[in-house]
C-alpha cells in the first residue's frame, strides 16, 4: 500500500515536472522571440538563488559574505569532514616516516616555524569503500587510497595575503559536502534540472547554456559588476550543475584539498601585519611569505636577538621554494641584511625588495658522494652519474613546501615509483589569469605545451580569465607548478583569481562562485590530461575553418585576405613557421596548346603568416565563438589565375600541421585580373604606331604595286640600268 502510494506520488511529480518543463520552455521561446526589455530575476529563479543563499545556510562565513580565518576555516573543515565521514577526512600535516629522499620526518616537521600549525587539509574520495576503506598510507596518514583512482592536489594560499585563495577551496569543499550523492537538484529554482553546468557545455560559445541570464533585462545581466554581461559569477550563469557528475567525480578521484598552505603567514597577515580591515590597512600589499626567521639561520651576519618576526627581512616565498630550477636568477631575491630590507610600511602598500626570497642555499651533500650541489633539480643528469637531480642547490627548505613535496612523493598507490598526482592546481590572487608551465624560462615551451594550453584555455573560458604561459606574466624560479610539472609531469595550473589581495567581503561570494567550476574541471581531467587534451584539441580542430573559395572576398586591389576561425582552446602558434597559409599562384601558360586542354604553370608554394584580428569573433563549425585570424596573400593585381591555398596550424608545443582542408588537399580559388587594363592615351599612341606600321605599310606596298602596274616601261628602264 505504502509502495503504491509512493509510486503514484512519483508519477504525479514526474507529470508536474514535465508540465513545468514544457511551460518554461515555451515561455523561454516566446521571450526570446519577442526580444523584449527583458525579465527580472524574480520572474525566473527562486529567492534563495537570487540572493545567492547557499543551501547549507549558516553564518556569514559559511555564506561567504565574510572571510574565514585559520581557526574558523579549520573548524568548518573538521565539521564537514565529520558530517561526511564516508567521503571526507580531515588532516593536519602528516605523521611522517622515512620520506622519498630517505629523511626521517615526523608530524612536527610540517609545522610552521612561528605559530606551529601544520597545514590543514581534507582528503576526499567516495565510492563503495569511501575515504576510510581503501589502502592505508602510513606516511600520509590516510586510508582512502586506491590504485585506480587518479590523485588531484588542490592547494590554496601559498601567499599569506591572498585571502580568496583559501575561500575558493572552501566553497569547493562546501559544494561537495552538500551535493554529493544527490541527483538532479534544481539549484536555481527555475523548474529545470541540471540545465546549466560549468563552462560552455553545449559548445555554442555562450557560458549561459540555458540562456536564462540572457533573458534578463540588461541591468541585471552583470550581477558581479565585472563588466561582462552574463559572464561567470553572474546570476543564471553555470548555476545548475549536475550533482550526479560531482558524485561520480568524487567516487572516482582522490582529492587532496589543502586550502591554506601558509598558515603562519596568513595568521600573521591577518592578526598583525594588516590590521582589520585589511583591505584598507594593506590596500596594495600585505604579508606574502611564510615566517621563516632568516637571521636565525645565519644567512645574515648579525645575530638575531629577538624571536619576533622581522617584518623587513624575514620569510620565504613558498612559491619560489620548490626545488625544480630553484634559485636561478629569474625573479629570486636574497634576504637582505637588516637595515637594507624594505620597511614594512612599504610592504603593506605592496613594495618590497625581498618578497620573492627563494630560501637558503642547500649546504648538504644530499647524495653523500663528497660533492655538494653537483646535480640540481632540472630533470637532467647534470653530473653524468646515472642519477638525476640527486644533489639539489636548495629549495623545499620550508615545512610548508616539504609538506607538499612529501605528500606528493609519498603518494604512489599503484606502486609504479611515480607520484600519483597528474593534475594539480594552486590558487593565487590576483590578476584573473590561468597560468601554465613553464615559469622558470622565457621563450621556452613545455613538452606538453599544446595540452597544457588546452586545459588552461578550458578553465580560462569557464572563468573568463586569460590563459597564458606563467613566464609570460613574469619569470619565476622554483615555483609550485614548475616543480610539479617538471619533476612529476603533473598538469599543474596556477590560477590568479580576483582583483585584489584582500578582496572586500562583498566580493568573496561572486568571485568564489565564478571560480567554482575550475577544481571540478581539474578533477575531471586528472585521469588522463594528455589524452583528454588531445581529444579536445582534435574536436576543436575539427570545428575550425578556413575561408573556402566560395566565401572568399577578393578586394579590388592588394593582398587577398584569407580568414581562419580558430577555437580559443586550440593552442595555435602565431609563429609563421608553425602556422601559416601555404599558397601558390597558378596561372595559365602564356602559350597554350592550340588544341589541347588548358595548361597551367604552378609557382612554388609559399607560407604567409596569420595575424589575429582584434575585436572580431567568428563562429566555429560547432557553433561556438572562435578567434578570427587572417593571412594576407600577396597576389599581384595584374595576374589572373587560381590561388591554391591551405591553412596549416601548428601548436605552441610544435605539433604540426593541422591542415585545412585536411591531408594534402588544398583549395583553389579563381582570382581575376585587378590592375587597370591600361590608359587610353598610351593605347592611342601605340595604336597609331602599330596600325601605322602595319596598315600604313600595307597601303604603301599596295600603292607601289599599283603604280608599277601602270608604268611598266620604267621597270624595263630599271632593268636596263641593272
Amino acid at each position: 500500500m505504502v509502495s503504491t502510494m509512493r509510486n503514484a506520488k512519483a508519477i504525479l511529480i514526474t507529470l508536474l515536472l514535465l508540465n513545468s518543463l514544457a511551460l518554461t520552455g515555451s515561455l523561454g521561446a516566446m521571450a526570446q522571440e519577442e526580444e523584449p526589455v527583458g525579465e527580472l530575476p524574480e520572474d525566473i529563479w527562486s529567492d534563495d538563488y537570487i540572493y545567492q543563499n547557499f543551501p547549507w545556510y549558516g553564518n556569514d562565513k559559511l555564506q561567504f559574505n565574510e572571510y574565514h580565518d585559520y581557526f574558523t576555516m579549520k573548524a568548518r573543515m573538521l565539521q564537514l569532514a565529520n558530517a561526511n565521514s564516508d567521503i571526507m577526512e580531515f588532516h593536519e600535516g602528516m605523521p611522517g616516516g622515512i620520506n622519498d629522499r630517505g629523511i626521517d620526518m615526523n608530524s612536527v616537521s610540517y609545522e610552521g616555524s612561528y605559530y606551529r600549525h601544520a597545514s590543514p587539509w581534507v582528503k576526499i574520495t567516495g565510492g563503495e569503500h569511501g575515504v576510510q576503506g581503501g589502502e592505508c598510507n602510513d606516511f600520509v596518514g590516510d586510508c582512502g587510497n586506491y590504485a585506480d583512482r587518479p590523485d588531484v592536489m588542490l592547494v590554496g594560499n601559498h601567499h599569506a595575503r591572498e585571502w580568496m585563495s583559501y575561500e575558493v577551496p572552501m566553497l569547493f569543499l562546501e559544494t561537495i559536502a552538500y551535493y554529493y550523492g544527490m541527483d538532479g537538484i534544481d539549484n536555481d529554482g527555475d523548474g529545470l534540472y541540471d540545465e546549466d553546468p560549468w563552462g560552455d557545455a553545449d559548445g555554442d560559445g555562450v557560458l549561459d547554456d540555458d540562456g536564462d541570464c540572457l533573458r534578463l533585462n540588461a541591468s541585471n545581466q552583470d550581477f558581479n559588476g565585472d563588466g561582462i554581461l552574463c559572464g561567470p559569477g553572474d546570476l543564471g550563469v553555470d548555476e545548475d550543475f549536475d550533482e550526479a557528475w560531482i558524485t561520480d567525480l568524487v567516487d572516482t578521484r582522490e582529492i587532496y584539498l589543502i586550502p591554506m598552505l601558509n598558515v603562519d603567514g596568513n595568521r600573521y597577515d591577518r592578526e598583525v601585519f594588516c590590521p582589520d580591515p585589511a583591505w584598507e590597512s594593506c590596500s596594495g600589499g600585505g604579508w606574502r611569505k611564510n615566517l621563516r626567521d632568516n637571521t636565525l639561520t645565519g644567512v645574515t651576519p648579525l645575530p638575531d636577538v629577538s624571536e619576533d618576526v622581522d617584518e623587513d627581512c624575514d620569510g620565504v616565498d613558498l612559491n619560489r621554494n620548490y626545488q625544480f630550477e630553484w634559485g636561478w636568477p629569474l625573479g629570486a631575491t636574497l634576504p637582505l641584511i637588516p637595515g637594507t630590507c624594505t620597511p614594512s610600511e612599504d610592504e603593506r602598500a605592496g613594495v618590497s625588495n625581498n618578497d620573492v626570497y627563494t630560501g637558503p642555499f642547500d649546504t648538504v651533500d644530499n647524495d653523500g658522494d663528497g660533492k655538494i650541489n653537483e646535480d640540481h633539480v632540472d630533470g637532467k643528469d647534470d653530473d653524468a652519474d646515472q642519477q638525476i637531480d640527486e644533489d639539489w642547490d636548495g629549495g623545499n627548505s620550508e615545512p610548508e613546501t616539504l609538506f607538499i613535496q612529501d605528500i606528493t612523493e609519498m603518494n604512489d598507490d599503484d606502486g609504479d615509483g611515480a607520484s600519483d598526482f597528474k593534475a594539480t592546481l594552486t590558487w593565487h590572487s590576483y590578476s584573473e589569469l590561468v597560468l601554465y608551465p613553464w615559469g622558470h624560462c622565457t621563450g621556452c615551451s613545455a613538452p606538453d605545451e599544446a595540452e597544457l594550453i588546452y586545459h588552461g584555455a578550458m578553465m580560462a573560458e569557464m572563468t573568463q580569465y586569460q590563459n597564458m604561459q606563467s613566464s609570460d606574466l613574469y619569470p619565476t624560479t622554483g615555483d609550485f607548478c614548475d616543480w610539479h610539472y617538471g619533476v612529476h609531469r603533473s598538469f599543474c595550473y596556477t590560477i590568479e583569481i580576483g582583483t585584489a589581495f584582500h578582496q572586500k567581503p562583498e566580493d568573496i561570494k561572486h568571485i568564489a562562485v565564478r571560480n567554482l567550476g575550475v577544481p571540478f574541471y581539474m578533477m575531471e581531467m586528472a585521469d588522463n590530461p594528455v589524452e583528454r587534451a588531445q581529444i579536445g584539441i582534435e574536436n576543436a580542430q575539427r570545428a575550425q575553418w578556413i575561408t573556402s573559395p566560395e566565401n572568399m572576398t577578393i578586394p579590388e586591389s592588394g593582398p587577398i585576405p584569407i580568414n581562419m576561425c580558430v577555437s580559443d582552446v586550440f593552442p595555435w602558434s602565431n609563429d609563421v613557421n608553425s602556422s601559416h597559409v601555404r599558397w601558390r599562384i597558378v596561372t595559365p601558360t602564356r602559350v597554350q596548346s592550340d588544341y589541347g586542354p588548358k595548361e597551367w604553370i604552378e609557382q612554388s608554394w609559399q607560407d604567409s603568416e596569420f595575424v589575429e584580428v582584434d575585436n572580431e569573433t567568428c563562429l566555429l563549425n560547432n557553433g561556438a565563438n572562435g578567434t578570427l585570424i587572417v593571412s594576407h596573400i600577396d597576389v599581384p593585381d595584374d595576374l589572373s589565375g587560381e590561388l591554391h591555398y591551405k591553412g596549416m596550424l601548428g601548436t605552441q608545443s610544435g605539433t604540426y600541421p593541422f591542415e585545412y582542408p585536411a591531408s594534402g588537399q588544398y583549395y583553389a580559388a579563381a582570382f581575376p585580373y585587378r590592375a587597370p587594363f591600361g590608359n587610353i592615351i598610351g593605347a592611342f599612341l601605340l595604336f597609331f604606331i602599330v596600325v601605322g606600321a602595319v596598315w600604313g605599310g600595307l597601303g604603301v606596298a599596295l600603292k607601289i604595286m599599283m603604280d608599277s602596274g601602270k608604268d611598266k616601261p620604267q621597270l624595263g628602264k630599271k632593268e636596263a640600268q641593272n
Partner: protein
C-alpha cells in the same frame, strides 16, 4: 608561254593566294589569346619587330627560290641546294602535309560552328555541352572534315586560276566578316562605358616587355602566323608571272597578315572585355575553349537583338572557316605541286593527296577524345600530332636559310677559283654573303631594293633566333617533366622523346629516299610485267628522275649556276627529258600539269 605552264592571272591573285595561305586560324584564334597572355600591347612590340626581322625576310627568300626554281619544295631544294638535298624539300612538304592531316579536322570544326551560328544553334545553349557533344560524335566531325577537303579539292583541281579566284573571293569575304565582327565588338565594348578591350590591347606593360618570354612568344606567333619557312611561298611563287616583285609581295603578304591579326584581335578582345567579368581569365584560357566555348557566349550578348547575335556569330565563324580553308588550300597545293613536278598528272595528284589527307586525318577525329579537368572535351590524338609536327616547321625554315648560305658560299668559292677575289672571312663578308640577294632578290623585277641588312638577318639573326626558339621550346618542355629525363621517354605522347623519335625516323627515311625516289628512279628493264621480275635485281636500273619546271612565257631564267641546276633531267613543262618516253611512252598532259 611555254606549252603547259600555269600561272596566276594577275598579281593580285598571287597576293591573295599568299595572304590566304598566311591567314589562318592562328590569326583569329591564336593571336588574341597571345595578346591576352602576354600583356596586351606589350606583345605587339616583339610581334611587329619579328615581322620585319623574321617573317618577311624569310618569305622574300621563299618567293625568290620558288620564282627561280619554278618547282615545288622538293625540286626547289634539288635545284638550289643540290641533288643530295632534295630530301629537305620532302621534309618541308611532309611537315606541311602532316599538319594538313589534322588541320582539315580543325577547319571542319570552324565550318561546323559556322553552320551552328547560321542556324541559331548557339543560342541559349551551354556551349560546353555543344562542344563536347560535337567532339564526341565522330560522324559529325568526319562529315565536316570531308566537306573541308571537298571544298579544297574543288579549289585546286584546276590549278592556279581556280586557286586564285577562290582565294580572292574567300579573302574579300573574310575581310567583310571580320570588319562586321569588329564593328559589333567595338559597339559592345563601347556601350559598357569604356573601350577597355582595345585599351588593353594597345597598352604596354613595361615589366613584361623586359621578359624574354614575351619576345619568344612574339617571335613564334610571327613565325607561325605568316607561314614563313613553311614552303608555301615557294609553291605559290611557281605560278608567279615573270615580272613580279618578290619583295613587295612578301611585304604585302606579311603586312596583310598582321593587319588581319589586329582586326581579329580587336574584335575578339573587345567582345570578351565587354561581356566577361574577368576577361583575362577567358582570353588566356585554353585555345579551343576560347574560340568554341567563350566566344559563342560572348557573341550571345551582341547588340542589335537576335539579328545582331546572328550576324556576329555567323560572320565570325564564316570568316574563321574561310581563313582555315584558304590555308588548307595552300597546304594541299604544296603537296600536289611536288607530285606534278615529278610528272604525275595533276588530277591524280590532287585525288591522291586529298584521299591521304582525309584518311590520315581520320584518327584525329575520333581517337583519344578526352575530357580535361574543367570538363571540356579535347582531341588528344590531334593534339599529339600538333605537338610532334608543329615545331618541325622550324627546320623547314632552317633548310631555306641553309640554301641561302650554301649559294653564297658556292658563289664566293667560284669567284676565288676564277681569281676574281682573295679568300678569307672579310672577303666572304663582302662577296659571299650578298650572293643570294644579288642574284635572286634584287633582280630587275623589283621596285623595292633589299638592303644588306637582309644578309645579316639571314646569316646571323636567323640562326640565333632559330636556336632561341628551339632551345626555349625544348627547355620548357623538358623542365615541365619531373624528373626531367622522363621527357625523353618516347611513349609519353606529350614529351620531347616522341618528337625526336618521329623527326628522326622521318628525316632518316627521307634522306634514304633521296637517291632512290627523289632524284633517281628505278626503271624496269625485264620481260613481262614488272611485278614478275620484282626481286631480280638485274631487271632494274636506277636512272635520274626528271623534274618539270613550271616556267611561264617570258619568265625563263637560268638555273645553271645553281648547285643542282646543271641537270639534263630538269626540264621545263612541255619538254621531254631523256628517257622519259621509255616509261610512259608519251609526253605528260601539259594542260593538267
Amino acid at each position: 608561254m611555254a606549252k603547259g605552264s600555269d600561272q596566276f592571272g594577275s598579281r593580285v591573285g598571287l597576293i591573295f593566294a599568299a595572304i590566304g595561305a598566311a591567314i589562318g586560324t592562328g590569326n583569329i584564334w591564336r593571336f588574341p589569346r597571345m595578346v591576352g597572355a602576354n600583356g596586351g600591347g606589350t606583345f605587339l612590340i616583339p610581334w611587329l619587330f619579328f615581322l620585319f626581322i623574321w617573317s618577311i625576310p624569310l618569305v622574300i627568300a621563299e618567293f625568290a627560290i620558288g620564282k627561280r626554281a619554278r618547282t615545288g619544295t622538293v625540286g626547289a631544294f634539288r635545284i638550289f641546294v643540290g641533288r643530295k638535298f632534295a630530301w629537305m624539300g620532302l621534309w618541308t612538304a611532309w611537315i606541311s602535309t602532316a599538319i594538313g592531316f589534322y588541320y582539315a579536322v580543325v577547319a571542319g570544326w570552324c565550318v561546323k560552328y559556322f553552320t551552328l551560328g547560321a542556324t541559331n544553334g548557339l543560342e541559349n545553349v551551354d556551349t560546353t555541352d555543344v562542344w563536347n557533344a560535337f567532339l564526341n560524335d565522330p560522324s559529325q566531325v568526319i562529315m565536316f572534315q570531308f566537306i573541308v577537303i571537298a571544298i579544297t579539292i574543288m579549289a585546286i583541281w584546276k590549278g592556279a586560276k581556280a586557286i586564285e579566284s577562290v582565294n580572292i573571293w574567300m579573302m574579300c569575304s573574310l575581310f567583310v566578316m571580320l570588319f562586321t565582327t569588329l564593328a559589333l565588338a567595338l559597339w559592345m565594348d563601347f556601350s559598357d562605358g569604356s573601350l577597355d578591350g582595345a585599351t588593353f590591347m594597345f597598352t604596354v606593360q613595361w615589366d613584361l616587355l623586359a621578359e624574354p618570354e614575351t619576345w619568344i612568344n612574339g617571335l613564334s606567333q610571327s613565325a607561325w602566323s605568316c607561314s614563313a619557312g613553311m614552303g608555301m611561298a615557294i609553291t605559290y611563287a611557281v605560278y608567279m608571272r615573270k615580272d613580279e616583285d618578290t619583295v613587295l609581295n612578301a611585304a604585302t603578304m606579311g603586312l596583310a597578315n598582321n593587319s588581319i591579326s589586329i582586326i581579329a584581335g580587336l574584335a575578339v578582345l573587345s567582345a570578351i572585355f565587354a561581356a566577361s567579368p574577368d576577361p583575362l581569365a577567358v582570353v588566356t584560357g585554353g585555345s579551343s575553349a576560347i574560340t568554341f566555348l567563350a566566344l559563342p557566349e560572348v557573341f550571345a550578348q551582341a547588340p542589335g537583338g537576335a539579328g545582331g547575335r546572328w550576324l556576329m556569330m555567323t560572320a565570325f565563324f564564316l570568316g574563321l572557316s574561310f581563313a582555315a580553308l584558304t590555308s588548307m588550300i595552300s597546304t594541299v597545293e604544296l603537296c600536289v605541286r611536288n607530285f606534278v613536278d615529278h610528272g604525275i598528272e595533276r588530277n591524280k595528284a590532287v585525288g591522291f593527296t586529298a584521299a591521304a589527307i582525309f584518311l590520315l586525318g581520320l584518327p584525329s577525329t575520333f581517337v583519344w577524345i578526352k575530357m580535361d579537368a574543367e570538363g571540356v572535351a579535347f582531341p588528344e590524338f590531334l593534339e599529339v600530332q600538333d605537338h610532334i609536327w608543329g615545331y618541325g616547321l622550324m627546320f623547314s625554315g632552317l633548310f631555306i636559310a641553309f640554301s641561302i648560305w650554301k649559294y653564297g658560299y658556292i658563289k664566293w668559292r667560284g669567284m676565288i677559283e676564277d681569281g676574281e677575289i682573295e679568300g678569307g672571312l672579310a672577303s666572304f663578308f663582302k662577296y659571299g654573303m650578298s650572293g643570294f640577294r644579288d642574284d635572286f632578290i634584287n633582280t630587275g623585277d623589283n621596285d623595292l631594293w633589299v638592303p644588306r641588312a637582309w644578309d645579316f638577318i639571314m646569316y646571323f639573326a636567323f640562326p640565333i633566333l632559330f636556336t632561341v626558339l628551339i632551345v626555349s621550346y625544348f627547355g620548357d618542355l623538358i623542365s615541365s617533366f619531373d624528373p626531367w629525363y622522363s621527357a625523353f621517354n618516347p611513349s609519353n605522347p606529350h614529351g620531347a622523346g616522341i618528337i625526336l623519335l618521329f623527326w628522326g625516323v622521318v628525316a632518316a627515311l627521307f634522306i634514304g629516299f633521296n637517291d632512290y625516289v627523289l632524284t633517281r628512279r628505278p626503271v624496269y628493264l625485264g620481260e613481262g610485267h614488272w611485278i614478275t621480275g620484282l626481286f631480280d635485281r638485274s631487271n632494274w636500273e636506277m636512272r635520274d628522275a626528271p623534274l618539270f619546271r613550271n616556267v611561264p612565257e617570258g619568265a625563263e631564267a637560268s638555273i645553271e649556276t645553281l648547285p643542282g641546276g646543271d641537270d639534263p633531267q630538269i626540264v621545263e613543262v612541255g619538254e621531254v627529258p631523256e628517257g622519259w618516253e621509255d616509261v610512259y611512252g608519251e609526253v605528260m598532259d601539259a594542260e593538267l600539269a
